[in-house]
Each structure stands twice: as C-alpha cells, then as structure tokens.
Symmetry: C2
Subunit: 403 residues, 2 copies
Amino acid sequence: MGRNGEHFFSRTSRKEEGRLLLLPEAESCRRLDRVRSAMLSAGIRAGLVSGNASKFYLTGRIFVGWILVTQDSVTYYVRRPVELEGDNVVYVRKPEEIDFGCLADGELGLELDCATYSSIERLSAAAGIKVPGDLSKVLRKARSVKTDMEIEMIERSGKMQEGVYRRIPGLYAAGMSDIEFQIEIERLSRLSGCLGQFRIAGDSMELFMGNVLAGDNADSPTPYDFAMGGAGVDPSLPVGADGTVIAGGMTVMVDVNGNYTGYMTDMTRVYRVGSIDSLAEKAHRCSMDILRALEKSGVPGAKASEMYEEAESIVKERGLHAYFMGHRQHAGFIGHGVGIEINEAPVIAPRSRDVLEVGNVIAIEPKFVIPGTGAVGVENTYVVTCDGLRCLTNLPEEITELL
Amino acid sequence: MGRNGEHFFSRTSRKEEGRLLLLPEAESCRRLDRVRSAMLSAGIRAGLVSGNASKFYLTGRIFVGWILVTQDSVTYYVRRPVELEGDNVVYVRKPEEIDFGCLADGELGLELDCATYSSIERLSAAAGIKVPGDLSKVLRKARSVKTDMEIEMIERSGKMQEGVYRRIPGLYAAGMSDIEFQIEIERLSRLSGCLGQFRIAGDSMELFMGNVLAGDNADSPTPYDFAMGGAGVDPSLPVGADGTVIAGGMTVMVDVNGNYTGYMTDMTRVYRVGSIDSLAEKAHRCSMDILRALEKSGVPGAKASEMYEEAESIVKERGLHAYFMGHRQHAGFIGHGVGIEINEAPVIAPRSRDVLEVGNVIAIEPKFVIPGTGAVGVENTYVVTCDGLRCLTNLPEEITELL
C-alpha cells in the first residue's frame, strides 16, 4: 500500500496545549464583541454558549463545558479535558455549578436551535429561569460575518481543497464505481490535511466526507436538505454514491469535504467520461454564467432573495427550469453561508430575508440534474467584499474529462 | 492509484426504493411492540419519533419527517424524500400538519434528549401541549434489547470489521505517522463496505471514522466522553491521532468505525513496533482476563455496576489502577451499548443502574494507558445470552507486531 508524503499534519505544540484560549487576545475580543453586540440587539443580558461550533468560534478549540458571556465578562466553565489554563477558566462537574448571577426570564440566552430540549431545561433550572432567550439567532448572526482571521483560515482550506481537486482526474481508473472513486478522493483529501469532520447545524442532516454523484444516481431523491441527492449505498445513509459504475456519457459531480482548518470551503466540480449530452453542456455553462452574474451583484446590501431570483431568471430564459437544483426532487436554495458549519447564514433562497454584508462567506451552487447524463454545475465559496464576491475556490470550472 | 475489487456495495434495488417500510412486516411489528410496551410503562399515550436513529430503527430507512406511534396506530409523516409509498404514509410540509389527536400534558412523548429545544417547542405547540413526555428514555429502553434481525445485522458488521482488522498489519510501513496509518485503515474499511457515518447520541461528541493512538499521544486528554483520548491534529477536533511518527517501543491502538449495515460493532486491537515495556504487556493481559471474567458474569440479571466493580477489582489486584481507562485523565466507564448509535444502553459504569437483559449488545473495553509506551487493551462487542456474553468481534486479541 503506497504512502503519500505530502501531508500537512504536525503535532500540536505541547506548550500551547495547556492554554484554553488558542486565539490571539485581540481576535478573541473581536469575536466576543460581535456576540455582545448581537446580544444587545436581542435583549439578552447573559449568553451561555454550549455548542461545539460556537465554543470553537470563541476560543479556537473544542472543550466540554460552557462559555458565559455578558457585556462586561466572559467565563469559561470547563468539564473536560483536564489541565486547561487561562484567565476566567473555572472547572465544574455540572451546569449547576455555573454562576449565572440574577437573571429574569428571557435574559439568559441559550442555544435553542443547537442544544437538546433536556439540556436546555437543565440549564434553565440551574439558572433559576423558566423562559430562555434565543442565543442561537445571536450566534448565527455574529458568526455570519467573518473576521479577517476567519477569512484567512477559510482561504487556507480553499487552497488545500483546490490542491486535492486538481489531482482528482489522476485518481480515476476505467471501470471504477462512484464509491470507489469517492474513496480515493477521501484518502487524498485526508492525506492532504482534511480533518474529515463535516459540521452541520441542526439535528437531522448527515453526510460522510461528501458527495460523488455519477449518472442517473444524481436524480435519486435524498431526504436530507442538500442541494443534490443520490441514493447512497445503504438506506441508513441515503445520500450520495450508490455503487454506479462510471461509464461513457455520464457526468460525475464531486462535492467533497473542505474542512482543513476547522473552517471549511465548499466546492463542486464536474467530470465526464467521453462525450455527454449537449443539454448537460448547456446547463453547465448556465451554472457558470449564473456565478459570473452573482459575483457582480453579490455586493453588501444585496438581498439574498433577489440573488436567487436573478439566478432563476437566467435559468428560465434558457429553458432549463425543469432540471434546476434537481429533477425528480428540487432543492429550495442555491447558496448558503459557510464557516465552521456547512449551513451558516446567509441563505440564498426565494424567501430568505438575509441581506449580504462585507465578510459574509457563502457557497453558491447553481446545479442541474440532466436525466440520462447526471449532475452538472459549479460550486464556489466566496467572501463578500465591497466590489462583490471574491472567490476562495479557484480552479477551472469547465467539465473535465476523465481518461 | 490502485483499485481494490473487494468491495461490498451494490445499488439499492429501484423496486425497493419506493417503499417507505424497508423492514419485513413482522419485524416492524416487533419493534413497534417494544416501543409501545415502554410507552405504556412511562404513561405516554402517543410518541412522536423525530431522530434519525429511531426512525431507522422503526422503518429500516432514514427520512425527514416524524413517526407517530400510539398503542393501536402508527403514521409515517414524511417531508422528504419525495415518492415514498406504503400504508399510513402521509406527506406533510410542516409539523403543524400532524394529526396528534387530543392529548394532555405529559401524554405526548417527544425525543427530549435528541431533538433541539426549538424543535420540541414547535412540536409541543403543534400538538397543543405545554409539557412533553420523555420519549428518549422510552426509545433508549426499547432499542437496548435487540431483535434477532438486529443482532444478525450487528454480527454482519462484526464480520466485515474482522476482515478489515485482519489486514491492518499489512497496511503498515516503517516511518508512517499515526494519521497516515489511520488513513490507510479508513480506506480499507471504506472499500470493505464501511459506511463511514459514526452515529453518536447527544449533541457534543464528535469523531471521524475512529481513533488510532500511537505512543504517548494516548495520554493526551480529550474533551469528548470516549474511553481513550489523543490530541488530534487540530484543536477543532481534539481526539485521536496527532501526527506521531510510529516508532520502536510504542503501541498503536486501533479503534475504528464498525458501521457496515447501519448497525455497528465496536472493536479495538493493539499493535506494537519492536518490543514494548513489560508493564504494557501485563496491562494488556489484564484487559484480556477482564474480558474472560465478564464474558461469564455478563448474564441476564447482572448489574452493570457490579460488572464494572469486578473489572476494577481485577485491575486493583494487579496494581494497574493508575493506568486504567487513562492516565492523565480517566474515563468513567468500561462498556456501553452498541447498535445504531455508539453510545446506547446499557452502560457499564460505577453508578449505572442498568441490568443486563438477553439481547443487549454491549462493547466492553477495559483499556490502559502506559506512559512512554501507549495504550493497550482489547475491545469486543458482545450480545447478552442466557449463558453470558457471546462475542461478535472474533479475532486474536494478543498485541500484534507491525513489521
């Protein structure tokens, strides 16, 4: 079994290991300020962060415990691991040991969209309140505008992911099934530094490492709220590759995990074997044209719903509506915020009320399913700048032939 | 890049795809009966199943939606995918369309340990109740005793996992880091049919594909509630391999994903390079002896807490207590139920009130961390029978040398 020397892993510095806060002081303050400002608007006096994604946001690491944020304090309550050090680090065994202070109903924000009902009930009781405030919306808002350091980390993931995608055609061998192809992409991704973990907000979506769709499997409806489907290889995980042998006339859409830094990029490219239906070529060009249009219109202040409409109108103009975002089953969005989780704000969808801000990072994925051929379309991750969208996943977008 | 022909994937039959219920009728009834009986004991008149794991339990597939179970009815409310068919299948767009009937506080069981606070609040409002009953405990109880079909599926996962573990020594090459070794194990697992998805109940534990621990990295505390730790390669996922180069005198503990059928086995074996400290050899033998003892005492009616005590007393007798279940940080259990999720009931821990029943499936993992050497110990998955524990992960348990 061959080894691949080009990996990016290095051991965590033992010196660093003991500090709870792995972010530079100024960066930590910047993120706390974003959360505090959103708390103020929401009338939340104290916010208790419990979810892994937001703990990582505020500290640069995952630990088991809670972070209590008020306008003038922050306390890190840690259950595990042992031996973490730093200002305002307090070890506790259970949430009843947290010092909430004196709070009225609605004043304590908890992660209502993230934590289980049982855990919220327990935290509320520990704080002596009956009605928790909604910290999920606050954190979603705060995290939707990335700091420069976050953008740098996402950009780094993008570069790693580009490197993997560049080598994808070399992984193909004639006669491979979609899942065999995917497994080689998984391995190359992992050897290139991909962390594997694919963080999804909410409690119902599941995906392992990504989605490789060959031919008509792209038209199999999935239960999950992803842009594309696929039957999967087992009914316990009904999404993605299903064992289809890749053959002439098919497209193969590759949309795999871009988590290389704790922050991810989301990127899709399409491959083909032999020549494919001209309708698929046309739809793929349409996807590229939509991206070019949205790259310009995606300026601060742009309404997410209008960006969706702009994309849809291009699709309708070209008579491709029946294939847009699926064929047997259609997805209801073309873009989504990306960062620590794959489904952050803003959402580019018909009824979205989101408005673009400088520092949003969004993946845009106008895709099509062409019966008899497969999925086509491009997905890039962008950061919103004053001049429009800046691409963080730079690689040729044309359909690449697998030889 | 070489291909491996020995994969087990086949396309879902298109005929089957359309039926919601993928379980045989009798099997579906058997599982519903288990849930209904636990509902009766808990005073729950109607149970609304919302989590993926329990939906898979009751139907053999994952879908987005809910299952409403009463003593004399079952209704499958489906949001996605489109086109599912069968008795009592009702398509809905939102939970407000569910026909809950007339229920008082406490009579509607919801998955309080699994679903988010927001979703439980919304479901409660839709049902016109203020206080939901706890369906999580009911489902945990029902699912803790496996049916023959479930045991057969777990057994099948065990056989696939055995096949992978048998080939693990062949994946090693001198100079490899732990993460490189792990990536080759991941690839072999996936090519052998491993589904990748690693289902964990609760909202805070994360793991990608498994844990490969070399040398002193085994002593790095992790925040997560796993038996063993490891620093991981990034603070966003602080568990497992950390880039340690595998070298002479080290042990390498392999504990990777056994989900091949939607049901998983959990299995750990240890490898070494060259000769290792005799203390590590001694601790490994102790682990094997504990398993032999518990295989006998693990009969129906056995108290989980007493099984833990039995293990602990063997450890203390041999003076190995400082290394048991970790060294810098100790895990508080030695075994756990396994099935659709990795952390089911019963739990083998000091304060567990669980009592073994015929049909429980449990992983037992008495492990040790020896400073300067690494982790040792064996983990097997067992089914509880009248005669004690029957092993579902049969492979030699001795430490295997990597050459």
